[in-house]
């Protein structure tokens, strides 16, 4: 376990130490700015619904996928492309440990940024309208969705250097396009998994959240179970690939 946590700690340092993370952090201010603008023009009674329609959707459709996709794809992919992978894998431990440590690092880093972005917007809401019950659901929902994206992009980032581009295509064409149009496909949308947890924790979600979720049933534990299965599959698949394919 000592090695696992050392790998996670060093990886978080590497991920958050990149210069472009500052830019990602600035994009993370977007939900708060939107919330701030809304609080100036709308009355306190309307702000709870507005928070979910504006800042929350900005968080889940822009900030969170962008952050998680970027950090997830570089976590192991750049080790491979920069030649540092042998340092991690030529060790007396199973590949699953390396992959799981990388996933944990990517997830925690992405959650830190996306979660802080959402919490900041929720704090602006709290200060403007005295509504504080959004903070916890935002933390849980961002945690769930960042893990889903990190799991998928860890695998994708290892396989190709175009992972982020593919991720952008997935987000805009699949998640926001096709999956939004066809209710039955909402199940295979990563940000919606987090939103089901959010919707289950916040009573009286506005129409926009219900529309986005389509056929999905709100539920915290169901969402957590889904992302855990997704993460397990990602770790298993990546470990298999690393055991059976060339590592350079």
């Amino acid at each position: 376990m000592r090695a696992f946590f050392a790998m996670t700690r060093v990886s978080i340092g590497q991920l958050l130490g990149r210069r472009w993370v500052i830019l990602v952090g600035l994009v993370g201010l977007l939900p708060s700015i939107v919330m701030l603008a809304m609080s100036r023009t709308q009355g306190a009674g309307r702000l709870a619904a507005s928070f979910q329609e504006g800042p929350l959707m900005t968080l889940f459709t822009i900030v969170l996928p962008l952050t998680s996709a970027l950090l997830g794809s570089v976590a192991l992919g750049e080790e491979r492309r920069e030649g540092t992978l042998p340092f991690l894998v030529l060790r007396p431990r199973r590949r699953e440990i390396v992959v799981a440590a990388k996933l944990l690092a990517a997830w925690l880093s992405a959650w830190l940024i996306a979660g802080a972005s959402g919490v900041l917007a929720a704090i602006v809401l709290g200060l403007s309208a005295g509504i504080w019950q959004m903070v916890l659901p935002v933390i849980v929902a961002t945690g769930v969705s960042t893990l889903a994206y990190a799991a998928v992009f860890l695998l994708l980032g290892y396989a190709t250097r175009w992972a982020v581009l593919i991720g952008a295509g997935f987000l805009f064409f699949w998640e926001l396009g096709i999956a939004s149009a066809a209710d039955s496909l909402a199940n295979v949308s990563l940000f919606r998994i987090g939103l089901t947890a959010f919707a289950a924790m916040v009573h009286g979600s506005p129409g926009v959240i219900r529309d986005v979720l389509a056929s999905l049933t709100p539920g915290v534990w169901g969402a957590i179970a889904k992302v855990l299965v997704l993460s397990g599959c990602s770790v298993g698949a990546l470990s298999y690939v690393m055991r059976h394919r060339d590592l350079t």
């Binding site: 090695a3 030649g83 042998p86 991690l88 894998v89 030529l90 060790r91 590592l247």
Partner: protein
Amino acid sequence: MTTDPSLAADATIEITSVSKWFGQKVAVSDVTCSFGPGITGLLGPNGAGKTTLLRLITGLLTPSDGTIRVLGEDPRRAPAVYDAMALVPEEDAVYTGLTGRRFVEYAAVLANAPAGRAAEEIARVGLEDAQDRPIAGYSKGMRQRVKVAAALVGRPRVLVLDEPLNGTDPVQRAGLIATFREMADRGHTLVVSSHVLAEVERMADRVLAIVDGKLAAAGDVAAIRAAMHDIPYRVKIGTDVSRRLAAGLMALDGVISAAVRDTGLLVETNDLPGLGTALPRLARELDARVIQFEPEDESLESVFRYLVRRR
């Protein structure tokens, strides 16, 4: 006891009929050899397949054909092998954001080594003064040394080094060679790939030459040269009467040519011992003074040149 020079006694690494191809390109072709305690130099021109072979040994690559065993195990399937094996890669495979000390400590944790080992290895490679600086600011030579320290921290029985002396200055080079020799003397297996022939000659007990992905020669340098029957020996002979001695030498059996140079003669012969025996007698007869007799091509460089040219 093996007589095949490509096979080592007490082998810790065994490579049997290994080939590796990437699409249409064959990087390593049907190589069988083994490595045992001591330092084995792996030589070859750029693109010969040295790095591919080292990556196959360490399990970073899967052989397309054949088998590799390190300490009796397949490195691709038994992670426990890495308790006893480490790699110093050729690339700048270091975390530039970490300090040298943090990097080696990290390597120690991953290798299940005791905490104090990192400081010992940093001292061994002479990086104490720079250990708290980020690796991003290290020179190429310092990065090489920090990689070596990170590899040594687990005290591996088998150490695979890909061009470990690249970028090091003469003092650093001497220090690293001394470290490698010390490990070899303690019975560790070291496989060192290099194109800096003089250094391989200084440190390696045994040499394997790879050309175009194939094993071109194996053994010690003199033995490899002696096995190359089809290539004449070249000998520099320093003398005060070049032309007369050249004419006399041409009459000897085995002498192919004798070219007059500024400082003496350059003789090509198929029979080096015969030339060595006949020369003093000939010099006496011609009243010539011989001040130099130096086989030009018993150096690793010339052996290597021959091997490459022969392909």
